[in-house]
């Protein structure tokens, strides 16, 4: 059983996550130079961009786990998918909220129907659909499989949605507001962003493992207790 292994792995990811967060924040706030166009407001990028990446990536990962769980009847993979869904939705929400907060000082508005923002919003809807589908099915086996189908259909749809939104945007009004194009990003900025990305990674692994342990406990109470006593 994976339960005790997961328990041992959690600190190995949680502690680096905390350290990396601290380091990333430090580099981001104190070392990275102030952007000459956007001032200090741009610093929200250090949480915004990693969160957006994680949101997208975790969806694909979730779909893969769900698919594996369905195809090979691997319960652990399905539980992993359920555990990933919440974290992914959280990151997507974070990227939306920070994006809105960033948009206010730089673009002058909290929200524009820009292609990326719109597709991130739709990604959030897909996460919500997955979570609410699983939540409303009592039989866990059925919940896993139904979630797998939904996630896979979503994964096929994600590129289509992305391109359709992009074309919709360009066809409607032309890109009126664009991310201010910087030819190259200053090295400390990039460093801070990568550190934060790594921090988000470790954080995700740690949190997903914790959530996975909860799910295991919930679903296989007897087996998990037994393993814990033996460990």
């Amino acid at each position: 059983m994976f339960y005790p292994v997961a328990g041992k792995m959690i600190p190995w990811f949680a502690i680096p996550a905390a350290i990396l967060f601290a380091a990333g924040m430090y580099v981001g706030f104190f070392i990275a130079p102030t952007d000459f166009q956007q001032g200090d407001a741009y610093r929200i990028i250090f949480i915004h961009v990693p969160a957006a990446w994680m949101g997208m990536f975790l969806y694909v990962l979730m779909a893969i786990y769900a698919g594996v769980g369905w195809a090979f009847n691997a319960r652990l993979a399905s539980m992993m998918a359920s555990a990933l869904a919440v974290t992914g939705a959280m990151f997507t929400l974070v990227s939306l909220v920070t994006g809105a907060l960033w948009g206010k000082p730089t673009w002058g508005t909290y929200w524009v129907w820009d292609a990326r923002m719109t597709s991130t919003l739709i990604l959030m809807f897909l996460y919500i659909g997955f979570i609410s589908l699983q939540a409303s099915i009592d039989d866990t086996r059925r919940a896993d499989r139904a979630g797998a189908i939904l996630a896979l259909v979503g994964v096929i749809n994600v590129p289509i949605i992305y391109f359709s939104v992009q074309w919709w945007n360009t066809l409607h009004q032309g890109a009126t507001i664009r991310l201010i194009g910087k030819p190259t990003i200053a090295a400390p900025m990039l460093t801070a962003m990568l550190i934060m990305l790594a921090a988000c990674w470790f954080y995700s692994v740690a949190v997903v493992l914790i959530r996975l342990r909860c799910i295991i406990l919930e679903r296989e109470q007897n087996a998990a207790r037994f393993a814990e006593v033996n460990a």
Binding site: S136, A146, L150, V153, N157, S164, V165, W168
Partner: protein, 219 residues
């Protein structure tokens, strides 16, 4: 087999004509509410008409999706269908086709009439008709996945819209895009081609996904 399923579902639907009518009237009422909420400026209404009509079509098709498998599930017919030697793919395709004829085609036929409320020109109405004709099969196809996944769940009606509406977005974009292009005087053909491509993709994947979902829901 395919023809038999379609014929059977059409017969069943014909015996309950009120259901078809209620979907159509829902569509008409929703579309008519918008001018009341927004105000009667013709220019403004004309420019938002494509979006409104398409969104109303999406919502109206949500209403009938619940019935796609639910009745057969309740009286046990669905289990019998799953046990037939024919591929489930075909059964699903037949049921989706019947659903399209029963629930979507009436909307498509009413749409030009509704479009007149928004002062659309004849050419635009023609594009609206074509875009709905190409796009509504997508709604039935993708909707069938949602219907199969939520079969027999509590609160299935609301849940199905959470699952399916985000997946409808490309159809909405290209469909209303075509109509809007026609209003603006540019070529609607690219939008219609993309909509057709999306319809073909969903024709390939959806019945398969629906068949898998049905097997999961009924076991």
């Amino acid at each position: 087999m395919l023809r038999w399923i379609v014929w059977r579902d059409l017969t069943l639907a014909w015996r309950r004509r009120a259901d078809i009518l209620s979907t159509v009237f829902f569509f008409i009422i929703v579309v008519s509410l918008f001018p009341l909420g927004i105000g009667p400026e013709t220019q403004l209404l004309r420019s938002i008409a494509p979006g409104i009509i398409w969104v109303a079509a999406l919502l109206a098709s949500m209403l009938s999706l619940n019935r796609l498998f639910a009745n057969d599930h309740q009286d046990g017919t669905l289990e019998q269908l799953l046990l037939t030697p024919q591929p489930l793919f075909l059964v699903v395709l037949g049921k989706v086709l019947a659903h399209w004829i029963v629930s979507e085609v009436p909307l498509v036929l009413v749409a030009p009439l509704v479009g007149l409320q928004f002062d659309l020109e004849t050419e635009t109405l023609r594009i609206l008709l074509i875009s709905l004709l190409v796009g509504t099969p997508v709604l039935s196809l993708i909707g069938s996945v949602g219907a199969a996944l939520t079969l027999g769940l509590r609160g299935g009606g609301v849940l199905i819209s959470l699952l399916v509406l985000p997946l409808y977005i490309p159809a909405l974009i290209f469909g209303s895009g075509a109509v809007e292009a026609s209003i603006m005087g540019t070529a609607p053909a690219p939008h219609l081609s993309l909509l057709g491509a999306f319809a073909i993709v969903s024709l390939i994947f959806s019945p398969w996904a629906t068949a898998a979902a049905l097997r999961i829901s009924v076991e």
